[in-house]
Symmetry: C2
Subunit: 395 residues, 2 copies
């Protein structure tokens, strides 16, 4: 009776992730934190770039009058203008501050977007594997998740997408670079998705938003360039944060960017601003809005992450794991040597290596490794990966 | 088609507040900001206390490793323990960190509490006049607002409350010191409310939460002491923020405190922590959690606010306005000299004085003045208040 039926149900569904987290914590207590190799969390061990500390120091040394007060719910004009300028630079599209709403991270951004656009029971399509928190966000805002599979390289299948779109489809969420697979979508793929959504909009006389979660946009390897989504569908909205590119996940600073060519753009932005307020975020944290204004071109060391990826990928492949090489983000999503990914992840726990079963991302039969950790942790995990591989003779 | 029907409807309902805001902005543009006396916003002009700047400087000078990373969704143990210690000091009750969830301000806290407890269609009672954003929060989380009137001094009427409670009542929200009236509830009143809720719980076999919004708890005048709510009902939850006591409204830092004697307390806290995560707040901003840890006994100058209250109250009474003297917060809620509060507030606008009509708080026939402004603004507003009063010969 203490909590609602829906919250209880959703907590129970997610409870085995929680159980694993608790088992990990108890392993750390038993064997000492330094003897457990925790690759289960997307919580970067890297510190923010030095430029962030310099911005913060400037703000503390010369505090502006009223710099901790409420501002307009969409955020400081100066910060929104800086974001717009950066997006213009990246995409060649004429963004203005009026296209930007600053938010409490990408999670806040996504809830704001979904609240703004969803009527009860409308459908939102996601591609598995996906960050399953999307299910909670969609449910919060009264929608229904429709899960569509990807191919062996974690690339969305267009025929499966086409089959899933109905008159009730309000949005499709893509997430590239992807959590958990590290896949980066090609320009061609995004163009085809946009094209398909346009056709379906005409067919049903509806509007279908393409929501692009770009939290990992700046963490991308091998000289791959990130294809801007805006060119391929007018009803495109980007949600993102500085959690990963500036290593500030605890600070909850991100934004929504609306395609300037979106029809009824002004109403949409007014709705996003209204929902940013009424969902209780009110505004993105003030000090962080000031701090990130001048850091739109600053990113943590991507070379460092690429080095870690190469190290782990090469070793896993050598051990016989089947892994698709990630091109971005800081996750790897190998095939589980056992059909039951939870059993395999439990086995890795016996070796004091913590990972997350693929079913935590809508894709049983895989497991997620997070390599945003120290080299010591990565190196220390190899024995466990090798031991578990040999046990189930993956090669 | 750009936004949902519900969001459009709620935006339209609130649009006359927006219109007034826009009219105020256009007045400022026309006559210069310094010639318009804006008493419409609860956005304190006071800067945070010097101790806040000192804490921030310490954090910037000696940044802790990982101090911007994710932490547990309920917040840093050290900050939760500091909040618990302060509550123990204030109430004599044995709070521990396990009773505290750090949130994105009181607005975040309230959404988290409502999401956690409400089943679809359950009712939440509020007392008019009230912060009407509550209606949005209750609607967000699937509940229905039930508005109960107060008496001439803005004190809840127990018989009206008793008549409003049904088997579907899940919570009653109180807000003392009150926005917009400045009323501070007596211990006796809170005891009677708790007593009534206990009886109704027995009668219906339900649980009815008393949610106490205490954002203004530390801004209280005339030597009045704040009566802790926890002693009077086991199912009590406090939601609050440091927006007003530390003048940090833009930073979104607050907390939920659960009564340690609440039945199924652990399930409730687990639910609150889960909803803090899944509503997309994830956690309260990290740097602000560090900063407020050592400031639990620090407050902006309450004497300053009391001086402003006395100045404005004495002048308004002398001009003939009927005002109940506020004992806390930084608002005054005089009777509108005209039956139609919107017409009167428009009249004040002609005098370049900006206030908010009472119907914006569920109480037509009144208007709200916010006196968290500079003395210059307060002094400058007097001519307009006098002029409007004389026009409608209020005395």
């Amino acid at each position: 009776m203490a909590i609602s039926d829906n919250v209880r149900k959703r907590m129970e569904e997610g409870s085995w992730i929680r159980r694993m987290f608790e088992e990990g914590a108890s392993l750390k207590q038993q064997y000492g934190e330094e003897n457990v190799f925790d690759l289960s969390l997307g919580n970067p061990v890297m510190e923010p770039p030095p430029a962030f500390g310099q911005e913060l120091r400037k703000l503390v040394d010369s505090p502006g009058r009223g710099m901790h007060r409420y501002m307009a719910n969409a955020g400081y004009p100066e910060t929104r203008a800086a974001v717009a300028a950066q997006l213009k630079l990246e995409t060649g599209i004429e963004f203005s501050m009026d296209d930007i709403v600053m938010t409490c991270g990408a999670a806040g951004a996504l809830n704001v977007v979904l609240k703004t656009i969803l009527n009860p029971g409308e459908q939102v399509i996601v591609f598995a594997p996906y960050f399953v928190e999307y299910d909670n966000y969609i449910d919060n805002q009264g929608g229904a998740s429709i899960v569509v599979p990807t191919d062996e390289q974690f690339v969305p299948k267009l025929d499966a997408l086409e089959a899933a779109v109905t008159a009730k489809t309000k949005a499709v969420i893509i997430n590239s670079p992807n959590n958990p697979s590290g896949a980066v979508y090609s320009q061609d793929l995004i163009h085809q998705i946009g094209d398909l959504l346009g056709k379906k909009e005409s067919q049903y006389g509806t509007r279908i938003f393409l929501i692009s979660d770009e939290a990992y946009r700046k963490i991308i390897y091998d000289g791959v360039t990130y294809p801007a989504v805006f060119h391929h569908h007018p009803h495109t909205v980007v949600v993102t944060s500085h959690s990963k590119d500036l290593a500030l996940p605890g600070e909850r600073i991100g934004y929504v960017a609306v395609n300037p060519t979106c029809t009824q753009r002004e109403e949409l932005i007014a709705g996003l601003t209204f929902c940013n307020r009424t969902l209780g975020y009110v505004n993105a944290p003030a000090l962080m809005q000031h701090a990130v204004r001048n850091l739109q071109q600053v990113t943590v060391s991507v070379a460092e992450y690429q080095r870690k990826r190469d190290f782990l990928f090469d070793h896993l492949v050598e051990m016989g794991y089947r892994v698709t090489k990630p091109q971005g983000a800081f996750y790897m999503f190998p095939k589980s040597p056992l059909e039951d990914d939870v059993v395999f992840v439990n086995e890795l726990q016996q070796w004091k290596v913590l990972t997350v079963p693929g079913r935590g991302f809508g894709s049983p039969g895989y497991f997620r490794i997070s390599y945003c950790v120290t080299d010591r942790t990565l190196e220390g995990s190899l024995e466990g990966f090798r031991g578990a591989a040999q046990e189930f003779s993956v090669s």
